[in-house]
Symmetry: C2
Subunit: 419 residues, 2 copies
């Protein structure tokens, strides 16, 4: 075993011990730790910004610019925003201890399923230093320990944030090791981290598809993946035209670069003549490039011809694939073939079609008569999220506090034995 | 890619398609398919028994005997028992469609979390042919497809059972591929199966530790593990002596070879003089070998001296490790160090100690004032189980229907867009 493996293993061992210490702590103690983190961020803003300036200098020296540099950049307002996001997490209800179900069995014992902390979370991510704070505070509130492996470009910022968090934990009687930023930023450290099957309970990779694939290929611990968001919206025959225009514009153009943005519009052939041209005109007027099938182009000739690659593609840009389909079954088949299991929407006035959509579409989030953009932790009422799961086991969609817990069975008897 | 990999992948592709077809089916349709399976088992008992005889002959020719042969053996009564277990699963409530939570958001959209089928389950197991039927029917009831990879010793029995199940599925309008028994029984087939990360949603290995480790090491899909059951029971000072004797005997001796049997008794030093000797005498009288720490042997000299290996050991036999500990904290520390996260019990009259045990012990099941043997799907009210999870993510303990489902978000609006 190489020295790096040993060091990562030692860190995870410390996390496991810390997780045991954090798990039984009361909500008010955890909230006090979070309050200390928020206060610490405000009090130590200058040290954090100084570390961030070194990261920014190094990034600029490597030629980084534009959006990448902006993602890395902290300033006073962003540090204050971090502090207030910590306070928001503290204000959320504590999921730990919730009794999910309780029954009295014929044997006379009481059986409860109780929500408990998951244990040790490994978070692998890139660039944005605010993820360090958000992930740590969600994990702590859920009673977990967390090992963070951020990107090299944010190394100094993340280390400074970890110091602030560690000091706050220590000052409120929590183990520093409950939040650890690994001082190794290469891929080998990621591999070592996600192979600690005795010590890590869940790995959450956040970043590009290559990072997520690397984690999935190498993991010996459970992984929750966030792959692409290839979101569809199906305009059913009889759909309200004004509503359709408004929702399609919102779904595609309000923020084209995010994972819940629309990537493909499906229109029922039976009503495409009425619905498609005005919706397409509104999109084009808003600056959206359309790539249509032949039937789309017959109704809206300004659309570019779609290629086979355009179906199932995540444009993350002001580009939309448009396809005329023969009714609900064809729309369901298209979504089953090309969707990524993220967000799939229908606009319909037909209650049976709405019900078939809800029932038959397999995705983290299915939407009836609203924008795909509602698939978001805040909009769904989670308060904060550590990621979005497109994998199926354990959790799907935005991962808030509950997604960072598991359950245990609690049997209460009065001396019963099993017959 | 080798030909075996291709074949396993093709089978999983067929499972994925079948899973899509099964998922939206109504409860009554799924129950009709289960009824047809039960009837088919009864009608085709002779064909199943003939296949089983060939497996038994081959096993005898290899020198298999005793318990191993018994595990493999089917007879008329066992086939009838399979059929009635299928009917019991059909009678369970369908978990699919259950609304786990529902809220109206400030945006005006309704948000529900709904239980849905998990997708494709891969089950890897050994010997017992009844697992083929139990796992298949649980998966079907939960709306999933299942790929089964049984052991070579039961190859013909499993193939015959798969034919019965396939015929029943076909006759009730379900795809045959919803239940597939892989015709490959070597380790390479297991490896190929658990690496189908696009097609398999969960792998459940059931068997010895070597099999489970092999699956865990090689998997690119989520795995639910069932490792050892190193179950402890802590006798707190002041515990009722009669109750203690009765529960310890039940926990250790009612079925010493199962995973929820007691493996280590911890006794509070403050009351060991009163509690330990009579409990130890009752165990010895029942034929249990005791392996004690020095303080145990001072109170009960007939105990063998325990070695360091005896702590944390799963004897699966009429052998019990016994240790005198200095109160609740020492008991909690012992359990945290040596327990396997399966079942941990306390006998106490102190409500605060009971509460600390419930809260601080990290295990799939914690028990207060009852036998460890209650940690069982039937006793907990699940009706039937496909396995027991000692891993933490997604599910812990006996896995019934709910453990074979996941959730999706359903957003219902009236034309809302996101601001």
């Amino acid at each position: 075993m190489s020295s790096l493996d040993d060091k990562v293993r030692d860190a995870c061992l410390a996390s496991r011990r810390a997780a045991r210490a954090v798990a039984p702590r009361r909500s008010k103690d955890k909230d006090a730790a979070l309050a200390a983190i928020a206060a610490g961020l405000e009090a130590s803003a200058e040290a954090v910004l100084e570390a961030n300036r070194l990261d920014l200098d190094a990034a600029r020296a490597r030629g980084t610019k534009g959006a990448m540099l902006d993602r890395l950049m902290l300033d006073g307002a962003r540090v204050r925003a971090m502090a207030s996001s910590v306070r928001e997490v503290a204000a959320l209800p504590d999921p730990v201890g919730e009794v999910v179900s309780r029954t009295r069995r014929p044997s006379g014992v009481d059986v409860a399923r109780v929500r408990v902390p998951l244990g040790v979370i490994a978070m692998i991510y890139e660039a944005r230093p605010n993820v360090t704070v958000e992930a740590s505070t969600l994990a702590l509130k859920a009673g977990d320990a967390i090992v963070l492996r951020g990107g090299s470009e944010a190394e100094r910022s993340n280390a400074a944030l970890a110091r602030v968090i560690g000091d706050a934990l220590e000052s409120t009687g929590f183990p520093r090791a409950a939040v650890q930023v690994l001082p190794f930023t290469d891929r080998d450290a990621v591999r070592a981290l996600v192979q600690q099957s005795e010590l890590v309970d869940l790995a959450i990779p956040r970043g590009g598809e290559a990072l997520i694939r690397f984690v999935t290929e190498n993991a010996r611990v459970p992984v929750v993946q966030h792959y692409k968001g290839v979101c569809h919206l199906y305009l059913d025959a009889g759909a309200d035209l004004d509503g359709a225009t408004k929702i399609v514009l919102n779904a595609k153009m309000s923020r084209p670069g995010v994972c819940n943005a629309l990537e493909c519009l499906l229109v029922d052939a039976a009503d495409a003549e009425r619905l498609l041209p005005p919706v397409a005109r509104a999109l084009a007027a808003a600056g959206c490039e359309l790539r249509g099938c032949e039937r789309t182009r017959a109704l809206f000739p300004d659309a570019e011809p779609a290629t086979a690659d355009d179906w199932g593609r995540e444009f993350l840009d002001a580009v939309l694939a448009v396809r005329v389909v023969d009714g609900l079954d064809a729309a369901l088949a298209h979504v089953a073939e090309y969707g990524s299991g993220h967000t799939e929407a229908i606009l319909t006035r037909d209650p049976e079609h709405a019900e078939r959509w809800r029932r038959e579409v397999d995705a983290a989030c299915v939407v009836v008569n609203a924008s795909t953009r509602f698939h978001d932790g805040g909009e769904l009422g989670l308060g904060a999220e550590i990621g979005i799961a497109t994998s199926r086991l354990h959790w799907r969609g935005p991962m808030g506090l509950e997604a960072l817990t598991t359950m245990k069975w609690v049997i209460d008897g009065e001396g019963q034995t099993r017959g």
